[in-house]
Amino acid sequence: MPLPFEQPIDDLQAKIDDMRQFAEDQNIDISQEVTVLEERLVKLKQETFQNITRWQRVQVARAAGRPTALDYIQSMMPNFSELHGDRTLGDDPAIIAGIGRFAGRTVVMIAQQKGRDTKENIHRNFGMAHPSGYRKAMRMFDLADKFSLPVITLIDTSGAYPGIKAEEQGQAWVIAESIRRMGALKVPVLSVVIGEGGSGGALAIGVANRVLILENAIYSVISPESCAAILWRDSAEAEKAAEALKLTAKDLLEFGVVDGVIDEPAGGAHRDPKAMIRKLELVLEQELNTLSTLGSEELLQQRQTRFRNIGYFEDAIQDMQQEEISETDDTAEVEKLAEVVNKKADKAKQKATESKAAG
């Protein structure tokens, strides 16, 4: 199912396919015409995706057919060994973890996996991890440090799961702990937001030396729907919220939240998953080669400095910096007010008596 704004792309694609079929059936050569149309198709895709709104970008980030973490892993690491379980609570299928060879070295891979169909979506809890998933990730961090293996994480979640069990098992606690332990890793760490980077649940595996994002992926403090429900009191205003939240790859690069944007094939990753996977593979190899030249102390320092420097603020206006510890005596104020009230009451009483007397 194409997204509404993609309809012209699909229409043109259908036309080209029809022509090809027709030419084949009639045994005529129209390759020149097809080439012209194909060029137009590429241009149309580019133009469409250059101009889509942030809300449309959110829809692309969530689009069916977009390569999921497992699609990348299976292609990038053919001998990937998935490792299960957190050794405490169970195994969370929303987070895939394991080891494998990539670009000539063993790497630890941690990834959030949304389903590619309904059945997998239910199994994976739509990529929304429980505390167990983050505990598994932390186990992988230890493994990486012990054997000096670089860590790659693929982020794709609408957020950590908001449920009763999740809260009871300390969802907030494990996210904080995962951030802490990832920040303390002594090995190269790369994170890529491949689809949806949903809040703390995404950041929990996103404390990297280099944080990258795919062109049509998003990364946000809150989903546009929830933000709209809170600020506009209507989740139907998600489009406005998406606009306000500035959650696209381009926005985030500008704010220094991400370090690089990885271009997607024309028309988005979902139109050419193979090309997207190849592209990411190349970028990750390059990035890993660069990071591998750094020592463990440098890596740690670089990662800490990277996050230390994020934020926008300015000098406060002087007159606001009043002495915080003053005798802000609420008690005195209340008494003063009580006095005012009493006086008013007295006056009213007096008036009433006077008018009675007059009457």
């Binding site: 449920g163 969802q171 606690w173 904080a176 230390r308 934020g311 603020f313 910096q321 915080e324 209340v334």
Partner: protein, 289 residues
């Protein structure tokens, strides 16, 4: 202070601050008795009748914890920009300005140095009355700076949180403050300085999922709401009612998420003991309050 704020009709809420009921008298949310506001304030925002915990304004909290005359403020020199040019039903700068005028500080936090029973500490107290105590770039930076300063001055670190979570109006920049504050406290940990986290009502979202749950010791005030996701969101997701006492301090203590739940009248003396014990000193006989 505007008069109408004092005489505005009372609304049912947990707070005795100006976001809540006003008037000289209020009916206690805990025991239902009429209490005189003056008595409530004098009693550290605890109901004089039943001990019900009302939210304590940030400044009162600082005065309550710090030994008299020892607090030296660090925060307040920076204020938020509006990097996203964020507008919802109102622009972010306009919302911010209202909070600043109301609370007389640039953002939702007070940090500084103090003595606590003679122990050198750094305090970071969040102000829930300022934009719901939300954490954006400024709160993140203030906590980070306070942790750095605490390390430089060999002070134990005490945070008192009250927050709805990350500040939406600064988008992913707010999200990143979670990592920033955590890494700052990780550096403090290298100095082997105690970090005690006090969770007060309410502490949720991005503040729960960051520095506040990484204390060497984590305690909460009675009945405080503490959680990752909002209750409305959870209800919508699971489509069933939430168990009794869900996300309350006592519930979390039972689940193993807190070291203790400490009533406010014993909080200061317990904090002093924690800090002293962790720094390998004899506990002192500190009077309650």
């Amino acid at each position: 202070m505007a008069l109408e704020r004092w005489f505005r009709r009372k609304r049912a809420t947990k707070s005795d601050d100006d976001s809540g009921p006003a008037g000289l008298w209020l009916k206690c949310d805990g025991c239902g008795k009429q209490i005189y506001r003056k008595d409530l304030i004098a009693n550290y925002h605890l109901c004089p009748e039943c001990g019900h915990h009302y939210r304590m304004p940030a400044l009162d909290r600082v005065n309550f914890l710090a030994d008299a005359g020892t607090f030296v403020q660090w925060s307040g020199e920076i204020q938020s920009q509006d990097p996203l040019s964020f507008v919802d039903t109102e622009s972010y700068p306009s919302r911010l300005k209202r909070s600043q005028e109301k609370q007389k500080r640039p953002d939702a936090i007070i940090t500084g140095a103090a003595s606590l029973g003679g122990e050198p500490v750094a305090l970071a107290v969040m102000d829930f009355q300022f934009a719901g105590g939300s954490m954006g770039s400024v709160v993140g930076e203030e906590i980070t700076r306070a942790a750095e300063q605490a390390a430089a001055e060999d002070r134990s670190f005490i945070t008192v949180t009250a927050s709805g979570g990350a500040r939406m109006q600064e988008g992913a920049l707010s999200l990143m403050q979670m990592a920033k504050t955590i890494l700052a406290l990780e550096n403090l940990a290298k100095h082997r300085l105690p970090f005690i986290s006090v969770l007060t009502d309410p502490t949720t979202g991005g503040v729960t999922a960051s520095f506040s749950t990484l204390g060497d010791i984590i305690v909460a005030e009675p009945d405080a709401l503490i959680g990752f996701a909002g209750q409305r969101v959870i209800k919508q997701t699971i489509k069933q009612d939430l168990p009794e006492g869900f996300q309350k301090a006592e519930f979390l203590l039972e689940k193993g998420m807190l070291d203790d739940v400490i009533p406010r009248d014993r909080l200061k003396s317990r904090l002093i003991q924690f800090v002293r014990l962790l720094r390998n000193k004899e506990p002192i006989h500190a009077p309650a309050l």
